[in-house]
Symmetry: C2
Subunit: 351 residues, 2 copies
């Protein structure tokens, strides 16, 4: 079994900590290790470093090497720039096809998620490997514990094998009422964005639904072999359709399955989400370093300074060398609007 870690993202959700040149997967948001390092180590007991691949955009290759010194350098697959998951998977599949047999099982996973129960995750991967060998495209559905409106959902259909079901349908992020209904029905799971399949299954599915991704991927790999310039390669890659694998392939495929899992998963998609999974003191406050709270509860503080909180509830405070963010938890996903503002104002140093 091989693994493909998708580490090309350059999100804005963790500004001011994440920056254009230092995206979320390289942040030490949980403990002393970066998200990418945690993702890599999580696979260790099942997949050796030689069989782990990281696909990322060219400017991040150095960061990947720094964060994963035990990863063979040739296992870094370089996109000219991030396009979305369908292009990066197509490129990687073409690259890996030249190395592995067509029936090699491959797990594909984002570099910036948290999974707290590694043992259960590894068990689910083993189960997925067996199912993938039958030609199924496997998704991992997170058993929901609250009516989340921030995730897409997967509805399970008929049972294929114990704990594995055909996918009845994918559902976009629902409104709260719909999410409550999903939770009540018990047949809906959060779409984790983690997949498992054989190289041939995903290749055939890409060929059927978005064949241009494979053509462009092949062209890019040939250009790389003939030492084309970065500009030439980028010009070709830019023709890729910018779509996620979910929409490009999974929503259309027939032989697709979901394994419902309970693995302590979080996509850590906002400061609030990070706050939710962080250890808290008796007032439900989290301090990165030292602090004092007076009539203040349910706050999240990311600062190396001593921080005093008085009479404030439910806010996130994030301090870096050049910026300070104070946001209510409820609106923390709006930090991307701050980034948009900085872009418009050409405040490049803050981006």
């Amino acid at each position: 079994m091989i693994a493909l870690i998708m580490a090309g993202g350059s999100g804005t959700r963790f500004w001011p900590l994440s920056r254009t040149t230092f995206p979320k997967q390289y942040l030490r948001l949980v403990g002393d290790k970066s998200m990418l390092q945690l993702t890599f180590e999580r696979l260790e007991s099942l997949i050796p470093p030689e069989k782990v691949y990281v696909v990322t955009s060219s400017f991040q290759a150095t960061l990947v090497r720094e964060h994963l010194p035990s990863l063979p350098p040739e296992n870094i697959i370089i996109e000219p720039f991030g396009m979305n998951t369908a292009p990066c998977i197509a490129l990687s599949v073409e690259y890996l096809n030249a190395i592995y047999a067509a029936n090699e099982t491959m797990v594909v996973l984002p570099a910036d998620h948290i999974i707290q129960d590694t043992a259960s995750f590894i068990e689910a991967l083993k189960q997925a490997e067996t199912a993938a060998q039958k030609g199924l495209l496997i998704t991992f559905g997170i058993i929901p514990n609250y009516p989340a409106t921030g995730y897409g959902y997967i509805e399970k259909g008929e049972e294929i094998d114990e704990g594995i079901y055909f996918v009845k349908q994918f559902k976009e992020k629902p409104d709260l009422d719909t999410a409550r209904e999903f939770l009540k029905q018990g047949t809906f799971f959060w779409n984790s964005g983690i997949f498992c399949w054989t190289l041939s299954s995903i290749h055939n599915a890409l060929q059927e639904f978005i064949p241009e991704t494979l053509e462009i991927a092949e062209e890019v790999l040939q250009l790389k072999q003939s030492f084309a310039t970065e500009e030439e390669i980028a010009a070709v890659y830019s023709k890729m359709p910018r779509i996620p694998i979910d929409i490009g392939v999974m929503e259309k495929a027939k032989l697709r399955a979901v394994i419902p899992v309970n693995i302590g998963w979080s996509d850590v998609g906002s400061w609030k989400t990070l706050a939710d999974i962080s250890p808290k003191d008796e007032n439900q406050n989290t301090f990165k370093n030292d602090g004092f709270a007076l009539n203040a509860k349910d706050n999240y503080v990311y600062s190396d300074k001593f921080v005093a909180l008085i009479g404030v509830d439910g806010i996130c405070i994030v301090e870096t060398d050049d910026a300070l963010l104070i946001t209510s938890k409820d609106q923390s996903e709006k930090v991307k609007e701050v980034v948009e503002y900085l872009q418009k104002q050409h405040k490049d140093k803050l981006l």
Copy 2:
């Protein structure tokens, strides 16, 4: 006319900006000048630097010299340590009695208040000088524009002269209902803590009501002349009654008057009070440097960094090199409890 600026305070209300070794009067809270510098310059058109005296505790003498380079060094009157206003006035009166005639008029004012309308203030001082020459102890009563519960009040009695009244009584900080009643009656004013009298009037009043302050003051000055050690002087000074001049003298005196004034006064007693008098943008936010607000209004930001606010209202954010304070405006006076916490925890570097 001479002036005595009382600059010995070591308040905790502006933590983390104010520190034990750097009290509020030396902070640049409003514009580029410190509170002490603003107080000194406010007197300039009426009283030349040679006739301005600053009474302060010994460790602050260097700070006073730095902030007021045009003040003659011998015009700094040094208390061994801060005791309250009655001791510091008694010491200063004894010191000045040796230099000036008994009928010299003297204005006494705190170093850390804001007066926005300097011209009206100077006019009031001139009016006070005339009244002081008649033997009255003059207070300045601020005409209230809201039912403040954070100030003591002065009730006016019979009119003595145009715009000057006998004091009927002093009132401690009232509750809100009482403050509303005061405002309605129109005969109550905020006690500004600014006074005007002749050297002989205040000397006689001290002699009548708290004669020990004059005796100790005299002893301290003699010890200084005979080059006693700081410890010897401090031992004598520590016997001073730790009381404010209001309680020690003004509440008991007969010949006391109030001049009601409208001079844009504020004691700037908390971060909220400072926020109230600071310039605001269209969302009622104040940024010391650069910032961006999204669904956020009525906030006060003291930081040199770029600060983004999302979904927060009515809070004060204060950042220094080693500390960060986030407080609701309504509870900003509780910052002294943070200082108490730091004292108990022996976090001396933060004090």
